[in-house]
Structures are given as C-alpha cells and as structure tokens.
Symmetry: C2
Subunit: 404 residues, 2 copies
C-alpha cells in the first residue's frame, strides 16, 4: 500500500460537476488500495473574486485580513469535496492549514512554511479516512491565519508529502504534463515522460508555470517525486524526480520561452568597484525582481549594464535607475519592453559540448538577433525580439529534434 498526496487546482474543482469528478477519482485511487491525502485550491476564480471584493472596501488591504479573507476560498472547496466523497461512501474529513499543522512565519500574504506537524492527518489516515487539506494556507507562530502567496497550494502539497513520507505528490490541473515546448507554439511538442528536479527548476524559471518554482525546490530538497497530470483526462503525465544516474540523459529536454519581462540598459557606467552594487542594492530595496544581468567588457573606462525585470516592475526599476544615473555618471537609461527570453534546458548539456554553438547557429540561420545571453550548467537563455520568439522556439525545437 502506498501513500499519495493528490493536489487539485482551481479549474479541477471549479464547479459541482468537476468536484464530483475529483471525488470519483479519489475514490478510485482508494479502491486501488492506496492511501490518499488530498490538497485543494479555491474553486475556479474565487481567489481573484475575493481580491476584487477587498478592493471595493479598502485601499490599505491589511495583510492579516487579506489572509483571513482569502483562506475562505479553500474552506469551501475542501468541505464540498469531503461531502462528495461521503456520498460515494468514502469517509473524508477536511482540515484547514491550521488544523493540518502547517506552521508558517508571520509574513502575511507571502508566508513561508516553517514546519508541518500533520498529527491530525496521520490520525485521520489511521482511522481509514481521506484527509482533505486546504492548500495555500497555514497558521503563523502568532496563531494568525496566513497564506503562502504565489504557488502556495503546490507548496502545501509537496510539504505534506514530505512530512507524511508519501510515495509521490500528484499534481492535477488542466495541463497534462511537462512538454518539450509550449504546444500552442510548437504543434509537434511532446509530453515528457520524466524530467529531473534540476531540469524542472530551469524549465519553471524560464517560462512554464505548470508547477510553482518553490514547490519544485521543496520537492528536490526533500526528494518528493511529483507526477504532473491532467484532471480532465486522468492520463499519466510527467514524473519530476531525481535524475537516474544509470540512464543517459537527453542532451536537451525542453525549449521554453517567456514574454513577461522587459530590458533596461544603463549606458556608460564608470567601470569601478561598487558602482553596480549601489544600483542593484537600490533596486532590491524597491522589491524589483531582477532576472538576467549582463555587463559588457569595459571600453574607455565605462561599461553598459543590462538587466531584465518583470514588465510589472519596469516603472519602479526605471525610477531607481534614473535617480542613480547622475550619481554614478551614467549616460542614459534605456528600456525595451518588446523583448522575450528563449531557453534550452537539458541535463545532458553538462557532458555535451556544442549545445551553445547549435543555439547560436540556429538563431542566426533564422535572422534572429541575440540581445543578451545567460547560462547555467544545464540551460542556455537568449533574449531576442518578442516578435521573433515563437520562430526561435520552433527553430530550436526542430534543431534539437525534440518533436514527435
């Protein structure tokens, strides 16, 4: 008998009919002889609706109260799912983050999990019942309700799987797995049977939102295999797990892309120690999320510093740069929000030289100019013009023969 954590996202529990389908799937898992712990998100777009409601009564939006408000969404979904399970003869009890023993720090709306107690879940399993746990929420060390922020429900599921010693965490959503590229861009993109944690971190960081980055990180740190599956087809999806050292890794697993960022270039910055540090400290103080940073070699004692930021952070970032431009004797602050990132990710890259050459040649053949480059041991990312990014993805997907 194995223990599995099944996590269902908002679209999977969006209405009574979908909830009953989920209950049926959980019941079938139980009949197979497995123990199940279920984690649910709020139904459909409910979290967005609650945020909208808050905006109608308040401009200050205090974090403690936002968390109390938002945590109502998962309560509804989990209680309804338990009712549907009861109707199928499966005993099930719902648990809030607090009841499940998900202890967090005190940072409202973006709390981090400190500890998962899970005593009541173990008792519930021992009693032959299915525990259904609210995703996205916990209780702080001050005994206040907290929410985990973006990707919170995925993180809840992985953290529970780790704490309960589950054999796997199954993540169900309307996305049936991890693909060699976005199927909307690349018609012959393939579903991957498995990817390693390292590859999945790079894939997630460079464009795919199928599993939240922090959940993948948590799963890697605790060795929890994740099975990414569709709750509409119930077909096997993609396993995210430890690299199997006995198997040869594909050179490239996936081509990802991301159009959510913009580029800033601060030109002719004096090439002296501490200048760039001062700028980036000020950006951090404004909570600007920096992604790629490139500094060219010095020419006549000055250099150009380029970096990318989420488009939503662009106005704040430009303000900081302009405030500092005089102080650091920069010539100008240039912005470009018509860029995109294209990345190739693959664990086999480590032992196969020549991948970057293939990337650059392929883009060159299609007349696609590379504006910035950054690499990790298993990833190469190029910034290109947004208008050319889909062509770039198609070309790279073909060059590495990732299609069917």
């Amino acid at each position: 008998m194995s223990l599995v954590v099944q996590k269902f996202g908002g679209t999977s529990v969006a209405d009574p009919e979908r909830l009953r389908a989920v209950a049926d799937h959980v019941a079938r898992t139980r009949r197979r002889g497995d123990q199940v712990v279920v984690v649910v998100s709020a139904m459909g777009k409910e979290t967005d609706e609650l945020i909208h409601l808050a905006g109608q009564v308040s401009t200050t939006l205090p974090g403690r109260e936002m968390d109390m408000l938002l945590s109502a969404g998962e309560r509804k979904a989990m209680a309804l799912l338990c009712m549907a399970l009861h109707d199928l003869g499966i005993p099930a009890d719902s648990f809030t983050g607090s009841q499940a023993g998900i202890i967090t720090d005190t940072f409202h709306t973006r709390a981090r999990i400190l500890e998962v107690k899970g005593d009541r879940l173990r008792q519930c399993l021992a009693a032959g019942k299915v525990p259904v746990v609210a995703g996205f929420q916990g209780v702080s060390t001050d005994n206040d309700v907290t929410t985990l922020g973006r990707g919170g429900s995925d993180t809840t599921a992985v953290a529970l799987a780790a704490a309960l010693g589950a054999d796997a965490c199954e993540k169900y959503s309307d996305v049936p797995g991890v693909f060699t590229a976005d199927p909307r861009v690349v018609p012959d993109a393939r579903r991957l049977a498995q990817v390693s944690f390292e590859e999945m971190l790079e894939i997630t960081a460079t464009g795919s939102g199928v599993v939240a980055f922090r959940a993948v990180e948590f799963a890697r740190n605790h060795g929890v295999p994740i099975h990414v599956r569709s709750s509409f087809s119930w077909e096997p999806g993609t396993w995210v797990r430890e690299e199997d050292p006995a198997m040869e890794q594909p050179v490239i697993s996936a081509v990802t892309h991301d159009t959510s960022e913009a580029k800033i270039t601060v030109t002719r910055v004096p090439d002296k120690p501490g200048i760039a540090a001062r700028l980036f400290r000020s950006l951090a103080d404004e909570n600007v999320n920096l992604d790629m940073i490139v500094q060219n070699v010095s020419q006549d004692g000055t250099t150009d510093i380029s970096f990318t930021v989420p488009k939503t952070d662009l106005p704040a970032a430009v303000n900081v740069c302009q405030d500092h431009a005089g102080e650091i004797s920069a010539a100008a602050v240039l912005t470009d929000d018509t860029i995109a990132k294209v990345s190739v990710v693959g664990a086999g890259m480590k032992t196969h030289p020549g991948v970057s050459a293939t990337v650059f040649e392929t883009l060159a053949e299609h007349g696609i100019n590379i504006e910035m480059i950054s690499t990790s041991p298993i990833r190469i990312t190029c910034v290109v013009a947004a208008a050319q990014v889909e062509e770039a993805v198609l070309a790279l997907h073909g060059a590495f023969e990732l299609g069917d």
Copy 2:
C-alpha cells in the same frame, strides 16, 4: 468608558457600501470614547447560497463538512469589515469562533456554547484595537469547526457580551426595534422603548424574529441588556433588559402573530395514563417540534388531543400519529394548516385580572372563533383561522390601546 458588543446581521453587511457604512458607525462609537467588540454574520444571502452549493455535490451533507463550509461566510464578512476599519484609521483584527475561544459541544450544525474564553479579544481590546468576531461559529471540544444553528450569530454576540462583561449588546439589522405589533399588519404600531427579558422571550416565542430566542434566554440568564436597533437609520431602538421594579409595567406590551404552524387533532384517544406520553415520545424521537398542546376534558372515557407543529414538520408528525392511531385506539388524525396564532404579551398582566376576558370578548365581537388557547403568566395565545389573524391582531391592538 463603556464596552459595547455591536452585532451586525447579513443585510447590514450585504455589500461593500453597507460594509463601509458599518465601519463608519463602529468608528463613530470609538470616537465617542467607548470600547467596541463587533460580531458579524455572513454577507446577505451567502449562507443560503453555500447550502445550495452543498446540495449540488451531496445528498448526505455530513455535519462536520457543512460547518466547515458555512463558517467560510463570516470569515469573508469580518475580514472585509476589518479592512474597511483600517482604511478609517481604526486598528481592527478579525477572529474566528475558534480564535475568539468560543468552545462548543460536538453537535455539528446546531452546537451549543459551553464556554467563552475570549483571551485574544481582551488582548486585542487592551492593545487599543477593535476585535471583529465571526458570529454563528465556534470550535468543539474535539477541535473541529462547529456552527451554532438558527439564531447563532445573536447568541455569539450575547455570549461575548456576558464573557467580556460588556455594558450592552447592540443588535443591528433592518428591523429598527420591537413593536407593539407587526407594522405591516398594524399601521399605527409603536416602537417600544423597552421590554423586559420575560416579555421579549414571549414576544420572540410567539412571532417576532427580531432577536433569536436562545440569545434572549442567554441575555436574561447573564443579565446582558440588548439594544435592538436599525443599521439603516442608526436611530435608538428598543432596550431589552431586566424589568425595573420601581416602574409600573404596561398591562400589555405587544400583540404578536405567527402563521407558520399547523394543527393536528387526534380524536377519541382513551383517557388513560401513559397514552398521550407514548405519542409525544414518538413525536420527539422524530424531532417534531411541538408547540401548543391542548387536551380536552374526558367524555365517555375518551378525549381529543390537539397540538400545533411547524408546517415543515407536519408530514412527519402526521406519519407518527397515524402509526400510533391504531395502537392507542384513536378514532382519527385530523390536520388543519390554515390556522394562525395570535398572542398578547405583557408583564403587567400578572397583576391585572381581566386581560383574558378582554381578549375573548374582542375576538368574539369580530366573529373570530378561538380554536385553542394557551397561557403563561404574561401571555395569552389563541389559535384562530389564518384568514382572520390580521383582523384579530388589529382588533386586539386597538382594544388594549397600544397604538400611537
């Protein structure tokens, strides 16, 4: 400085605009120098909507999960109200039933309060903040979420007022007070400035739903004055408090009526000890709520037993009676769902003989037949034909000169 518990019902917090109006009222109470604890119900019809949703996924409706589901409603209302208060510069923290320390028994969907701890509310007040508490909910001795059933939010407010030693509990709704009769029936009905706990219990039991019966009972037992007020006009309403022995009581305070019941008569029941007891035990076992019970004097060794039940309980009650009719040798089980109750309530009745004579004469003058009578020391209730009940209310209201 006094401490007041302000309780706002669903219509008072039905939308963002109303929520902001409530926040403004709480802020004004604070500026007057008083400490405030707020209790809220779910917004508008949300509880009904959640029950409807449950019916779409389940026919079994397990109580533990219904309570988890329904308790989401107050969470939203209280979090939103706290946000609106923050925007007015009033620090406010929301508390679930569990956080407020409202400990109940384990009977889901109709739990009884065992104890109110209230430690966090006292800390919140001491810190100069406004605690906003979810009505209708608590936490059981098994650490599960419970709801208090019908009238639960009023009961929460009174129980908190008692536990915190509040000077008063203000109940705000769309009803501006307690009236000498239903103003929809009697155009010159007056708002009463005050009524005693005893009178209010009788008024509540015989037709007015302005404050839940169990909340009035709790208030009487703990000596908590209730101020029934409108959240639309914010005008002073009706005080419900201990009778003032120094003041002469009005003979009659109010005329109430109730059209929600039906009458059952079991005819020619043998007039022997234990026969009626057996029938009423069976009705109790089926959770049928009996109200008035009248047994006529015996004639030829048999008697007719009549009683009233809520119309919703009528089918179950008839089944029980028919099952027993043979066993107890009754002749027939007759039902009438076109009856209504009309009552006169007044603490002064105790020292004024002749009230019942006036009631019977008044009804007789209007050709209204009395089908059943029941009395308490401060109430007289008559069952009449439903078609004549409004005429009866108007006639009695006039006869006792209760109008403006």
